[in-house]
């Protein structure tokens, strides 16, 4: 059993990796790539050079400009508790420690020659002071790089404005979005009469292009200097120590790091820590209800096979099974919770807004007013969401119970028991039912992932702050860290549930032995 458990746990690792890789690739292959949500956020800004700066910041901070495989590898390295080496590749404030990137060349050098290259020399500090110094230098380099990238964008915008003034043959070469790629304008009339003088009516815009170019070159010099300083400091290995050493200098163990959510600017783990218990609570309430309703019904249906109870429960459960969760949710919230109709239940949330002042149990205060208390309030809020989660499982489980009971009723040992004169009640309960319960454990496997998915919908409809709401939010904002961490958690939880089902199976049935 122990070997089996270890093997199963080890097999879970490639499975989880496979799922997360799949999700990562889907997110990366989507139009706009991983940073698409950021681009959308930036798109609301009017100043394009600010958008370019914002994008450069995000690329630096999250490594979005690297190839997808590299980004995925980096994510795995952060999440995996076993680390190679004993140093962290991240500074305590969550920034990546990396060589500052090369600066892009200033565009349009044939018209505006770039400043001459230069070499910076300086001696970095050592020890903890180096880590601190590198952080400052890296921030400085990134900040100046952003300013430079923004100034390039501003230069291109000035160029586009100028081209629009120049008129027809030139405007056709602009991008469909109105931007100007300098490479399309190699034969543009330049100042100083080379090859043709700038027309008089475009003199103002041409002056602006020149000013933008000067600004761009100045930004380039500053950024280049900061970059070289940070590169020299990086060569001195400014990595902080991390984790607990297992093998000296080679392997260490550290807690998994899910990173920081782009959209909320909070550690992903904090968000999951508040959301996961809510989802688990709903699911853990729903499961016993499914089993308590479906198993007795299935048993009854099998005892009186073809009888009224059998046919009625089969038909009713098939009807319920055909109702999608979205439909049940909308009907429940519309007819049962909305004040236009019955209004018996709360419309949203997990607790009343006054929950902080509530006592745990219901009580009547001295003035004779009844308070429902925290516990009852929670039950009241959870009633409809749980209802929406459970009804679909009834059909599957009761059908399975019925089929498995019928199989056992035909078995030889039941015939023997009957021949011996064992009372029918005893046959049903202690012979048939006991042997029929085994397949029901494995049903857990089938229902659980479906319920996790279903709870996404239920949480969305009833505005419950669980994993489902977090997932939808992460997707709408294209928050890579949040999507990946959610995928990781949900697939781990469902894999663990599958494992639990197998262990229970072995515990219940002595014939089952995992070797």
């Amino acid at each position: 059993m122990a070997t089996y458990l270890i093997r199963r746990l080890l097999l879970m690792i490639p499975t989880v990796l496979g799922i997360t890789l799949m999700v990562f690739l889907i997110v990366a292959l989507a139009p706009g790539g991983i940073g698409a949500g950021l681009a959308v956020q930036g798109g609301q800004m009017s100043d394009t050079s600010k958008v370019a700066q914002m994008q450069a910041y995000m690329e630096d901070r999250y490594g979005l400009n690297d190839p997808v495989v590299v980004q995925y590898g980096r994510w795995i390295a952060r999440v995996c508790p076993v680390r190679f080496g004993t140093t962290s590749l991240e500074s305590p404030s969550g920034e990546r420690i990396a060589v500052p990137r090369e600066l892009p060349e200033p565009p349009m050098q044939w018209a505006f020659p770039a400043p001459a290259a230069f070499e910076v020399t300086f001696t970095p500090q050592s020890g903890d002071a180096l880590i601190e110094e590198f952080r400052t230098l890296q921030r400085d380099a990134e900040g100046r790089r952003r300013t430079y990238v923004g100034s390039v964008r501003a230069f291109k915008d000035a160029l586009a404005d100028h081209v629009r003034v120049l008129g027809d043959p030139w405007t056709a070469r602009l991008d469909p979005k109105g931007g100007a790629d300098p490479n399309n304008f190699r034969d543009l009339p330049l100042g100083g009469g080379q090859p043709a003088p700038v027309p008089a009516d475009a003199a103002a815009t041409w002056a602006k292009v020149n000013a933008a170019a000067a600004q761009m070159h100045q930004a380039w010099s500053l950024a280049e200097e900061a970059r070289q300083r940070a590169t020299i400091a990086f060569a001195a290995r400014p990595f902080p120590p991390a984790g607990v050493e297992v093998i000296r200098d080679v392997v260490s163990i550290d807690s998994p790091d899910f990173g920081v959510a782009f959209s909320r600017n909070r550690p992903v783990w904090d968000l999951i820590k508040t959301a996961l218990p809510v989802t688990m609570l709903i699911n853990l309430i729903a499961f016993p209800i499914i089993y308590l309703v479906a198993v007795p019904t299935g048993v009854l249906a099998s005892i009186r096979r073809g009888g009224v109870a059998d046919i009625a429960s089969g038909f009713l459960f098939l009807l319920l099974y055909s109702v999608p969760v979205v439909l049940a949710g909308v009907f429940a919230i519309g007819f049962l919770a909305n004040n236009q109709y019955l209004g018996w239940f709360p419309v949203s949330g997990l607790h009343d807004s006054a929950q902080a002042t509530m006592t745990f149990l219901p009580h009547t205060d001295p003035s004779g007013v009844w308070h429902r208390g925290w516990l009852l309030d929670t039950v009241w809020h959870l009633a409809l969401p749980v209802l929406c989660l459970v009804y679909g499982g009834f059909a599957v489980l009761s059908k399975q119970t019925r089929a498995s009971m019928l199989d056992n009723f035909n078995a030889d040992y039941v015939r023997t028991a009957r021949a011996k004169g064992v009372p029918r009640k005893d046959i049903v309960i202690s012979h048939v039912l006991r042997n029929s319960l085994l397949p029901l454990i494995t049903m857990f496997v089938g229902i659980f992932p479906a319920m996790l998915g279903g709870s996404v919908v239920v949480e969305r409809i009833f505005t419950i702050p669980g994993m489902g709401s977090l997932v939808i939010e992460a997707i709408n904002l294209r928050d890579r860290e949040l999507i990946l961490a959610n995928t990781f958690m949900i697939s781990s939880v469902s894999l663990l549930a599958l494992l639990l089902a197998d262990i229970l199976y072995a515990l219940c049935d002595p014939r089952v032995a995992y070797e």
Binding site: P14, T15, G18, I19, M22, V23, I26, V27, L29, A30, P31, A36, P176, L318, L319, Y321, S322, V323, P324, V325, V326, L327, V330, F331, I333, G334, F335, N338, Q340, Y341, V347, L406, N410, P449, A450, L452, G453, G454, V456, V457, R460, I461, V471, I472, I475, N476, R478, I483, T487, I490, S491, S494, L495, L498
Partner: protein
Amino acid sequence: MSEALADMPQSVSGVEVMRGIGAREAKSFWADAWDRVRARPGAVFGIVWISIMGFFAVFAPLIANAHPIMLDRLAADGSVESRTFPLISHLTPTDWLLMVGASLGLPWVFFGTASLGRSVRITVLAALLAQGGATIVLSQVFVWASENSSLPWLRAWARLEAGPWPLIVAAALLSALVAFVVPIILSPVRRILAVGVVAVVSGALVWAAGAPAIVNHEQLVLEESAGRVRAVWTLIPWSPEYTRSDMVAQAPGTQVANVLHLGGFRGTPFGARRTWLGTDALGGDVLAQLLWACRLSISIGLVSTGISVLIGVTIGALMGYFGGWVDLLLYRIVEIFMAVPTLFVLIVAAGVLPRNTYVMMAIIGIFSWTGAARFTRAEFLRIRQMDFVQAAQATGLPVRSVLMRHMLPNGVTPVLVDTSFAIAAAITIEATLSFLGLGPDGQASWGKMLSSATAATGTFVWWLAVFPGLAIFLSVLSYNLLGEAMRDAIDPKLRKAAH
């Protein structure tokens, strides 16, 4: 004595003696299963509802359309100045393909007296429709790619008034080639001919539909009330994407003229119309959207299940036939896909990928094939040991022949029984994704309507919940009932237990 003699056959052949005189030929497996399915009222209900949905899916453009069938522009003295047919000029290539295919193809399949057998006719029709569909999809992909391309000349081409027709012709020819490589039926010459004709015709339709004349509906309705035009409208003069800001959230049964409050509307066919199932929060007609959404539901159910069956049967057959390390390796992939919380990954995928029907069909298919693979694998493992397969292998038939002609027809039954449930699941998933706002853009969808029932203002619009909800429920129920009946009809274990 003489009567008895008259009943006797005149002559008896040896073959007849061997079969047994007077014995009737046994029903085929599928005919027998079909009769069992038809004997169940639930299954009949399912078939009827699916047929109704199919009818609306095909003919929705003729029933609910904001373009009038016939439009007469009247001169000042009331004489007809010009006569146009906006509805016909606005039908898309998909509309044409579906309507022509359904109104000519289905009668040909079921009542035709051609020398071809019915199954052959079904195959031909399916192949032609699939290929026409492929042409349209390909041409749309080309148009989309050329519009979003980084090459300036390609973009310029896509902006041409008549549409980028050379690309479409290329797409048609390519699809013809694809359909030729994928074997359908008939002799090679006829196959090339059929494929070529359909590809060229559908390609031409795609091109012709490139730039339809623009009709301003609001303007048209105003002109009609002023008596400047005379229009013959369809039964529901409302397209799913057509909204009137003055008809927002009207209850079922409201007469259009009563809402618009302009005397001129009272006499016009448009104004006399009642919104039978009400209008939504944007002023679109619920009934029109309900009918048009049949198309999305049916097509997503069928195509995504087709994709998943194709992937599942292929992988399952490989695992079952070859066994060994192929089985080991592929089964790991199956396990990964089984452990995936499907709906969750679908939500992620639908959220980040383009909001488009084809993408949605593909992702639903790609994440739901494990059942088919496991069924096929189990069947193939069983069949592999059987005498007829051993015999086929011993006679030196190629692997392709053993797999495709001997094992596949015998091993695919459990998968086919399960398809009905898979379609039901796909419809549910589509409704769920559309409900979450992750459905295809610009398409009427039951799930999308359902999500607008609970508006942001907190009011609950019951007709937006009940009618689409009922449609989803009945469709899912129909496929589930049909699946239940098929499983009972085909599953030999259950059938034995019933005796």
